[in-house]
Symmetry: C2
Subunit: 356 residues, 2 copies
């Protein structure tokens, strides 16, 4: 704890002078979301952290992730409960020689400023983002560990390769195409030799997808007729559909697929804010007649192959084959605004919150 | 052709006296179905069959199949077109030593009384029921070649085993459970050591499923609350869903599944008579959160393993482990009534039409 005690920052910020303990702040969900998440659904709680035991580290959050799945998952928890989520955290005290002070960790620590954990015994299946010591990202910011070099990047990598299994020359359609996962899926699709068509929510996003990321076509789903866009963009119809949104657009796309088409259902952002399941055109007739395979997945099914995805994406990034944008919100107090922002589609690429 | 010429039957029924040729009758679809199929959607046409060439046989339909898929598939054909469908036909003339007169063939010959074909070169992928010489069914009627020892039997066998992949102790839910396929799936499910829960359309059907076929539970979907029935019948929720019907009931069941549940989409009878795709509660949130796999299939993907299914079902039948009911309609003129009948759920088990 010597390092900790000598830190000016900690002297000012973390210690309650009388006890000498570290104070963490965390978001506790106290009300289930109704419609859009609201600040009043949470209470920010101060938590006194225990002293480090052998093998443990103290990690200070530098970037917190906001992801669409957060809107959907909380229904599965008993309230009150700590808010879930991935973060990139700097090790600021350590009693584990493998995890040095100054290095960075990722993990599903939730919306909290400081975490005490033993990285060797952390339950890697507990969240979507396993506890990992960041490899050297070179000149790239550590926040990428929440984006293309983290959970969304691996979601894109494994979801496309393992669920859609695209073959060169096939056509991939992506909804939520300008988001952290969608924009990444499209680029991998191009690297695999496919035709890539995206749907996003603004003309600017579509221009970015086509001009910067090399999508063959991108359409603003708010202004086009989806069926006409598919006809225009997918002359050989659709072999793979990477579904981030659910809803009627997905029914239209799935009804436009080829025999033996594959659908990776990654998210259903269109319905996350709904209190009742919306009704959409049914899928079964197309599923039968075209013998489609539709599979949902959470990225933690590939936790044991995690580094394979990170390394593949890092290699592409360093070769200039993978581009990204980040939208950075600022301040621990603005977590809810950031979450609402991505649910509204404010972001292009990955949205993260810089804690301070 | 000697055998043909000496047949009293042919002398009376098949020959137009002046030319000496065989006359077949067939249904030609001239209007796409709108709502329920109607007789006026078809024209019955007489067709003069060619003389047999070397390798060919003349097969006379004894039983014709009516199956729900017929309602759905015709949309894919240019009109006018011969109606599709499987049949059991007796070989009444042969110029192929492997196919003797008096033996039975199955094949996707369509709604027609007589067919000339070379069974060795028939395109087995052309329909759902491959051209097969019937094995010895013992005391069982040859019509079973359209039921538990034919396409529906193999649909049940392969669909359940290869798509649902049930493990002993898991819970299987089946809709259209009293139909040809559903009633068979449930019995295989029990043989595999699973809990089997069915939904059917009358109390009598449900009683038959529970009392005769050994379903753990069967519910009349027209009178129960589906969610309450699932809660009652599936205390460990649902691992496998064999979907014959689509529609809202399927959304409810899929939303009641366990993590990594598997759905075999075999049919969507609830929407076959609809002119527009009906709207139902969306599936994507459940698909993602529970990482479900939903796959549609047509049984002809297993044509190369056809006999494996037939033999397995025949073995179970002979061991008394597989029961069946048949609903037999009579007369070639009543094909449309029979088709409408199964779409209305008149049948328990397999419906066939005895040609004469």
């Amino acid at each position: 704890m010597v390092k900790l005690l000598t830190s000016v920052y900690f002297a000012k910020r973390l210690y309650s002078g009388t006890t000498g303990k570290v104070q963490a702040q965390k978001y506790v969900l106290t009300k289930y979301f109704q419609g859009e998440p609201k600040k009043t659904d949470f209470t920010i709680v101060e938590e006194t952290l225990p002293d480090l035991k052998d093998g443990e580290v103290l990690a200070e959050a530098e970037y917190l992730s906001v992801d669409p799945y957060m809107r959907a998952y909380m229904i599965g928890y008993k309230l009150p409960t700590d808010m879930i989520g991935g973060q990139v955290a700097k090790i600021i005290a350590s009693r584990n020689s493998k995890y040095e002070v100054g290095k960075y960790l990722t993990g599903s620590f939730g919306w909290r400023t400081h975490t005490v954990l033993n990285p060797d015994v952390a339950n890697e299946k507990a969240g979507l983002l396993p506890v990992t010591l960041l490899p050297d990202f070179g000149s790239h910011p550590v926040s990428l560990a929440l984006g293309i070099l983290g959970m969304p990047g691996n979601t894109a990598y494994f979801g496309l390769k393992e669920i859609c299994k695209p073959n060169p020359g096939e056509t991939i359609v992506i909804t939520g195409a300008a988001g952290a996962v969608g924009s990444h899926v499209g680029q991998i699709g191009k690297l695999l030799g496919c035709r890539v068509v995206g749907f996003a929510g603004t003309d600017d996003k579509c221009e970015y997808l086509e001009k910067e990321l090399g999508f063959d076509r991108a359409y603003n789903y708010k202004t086009v007729d989806i069926r006409a866009a598919l006809k225009d963009g997918c002359p050989k119809r659709v072999d793979c559909y990477f579904d981030n949104v659910g809803g009627e657009i997905s029914s239209t796309i799935i009804n436009y697929m080829n025999k033996y088409g594959r659908v990776a259902v990654c998210g259903s952002i269109s319905s996350y804010n709904e209190t009742k399941l919306p009704k959409v055109s049914i899928l079964q007739p197309a599923i039968v007649l075209k013998e489609l395979k539709i599979e949902g997945f959470l990225v933690n099914r590939w936790t044991d192959r995690w580094n394979e995805g990170i390394e593949a994406n890092l290699k592409w990034l360093e070769e200039g084959k993978l581009k990204y944008q980040e939208k950075i919100y600022h301040g621990f107090d603005n977590m809810v605004d950031a979450l609402v922002g991505i649910l509204r589609g404010e972001n292009t690429g990955k949205a993260v919150v810089k804690v301070k």
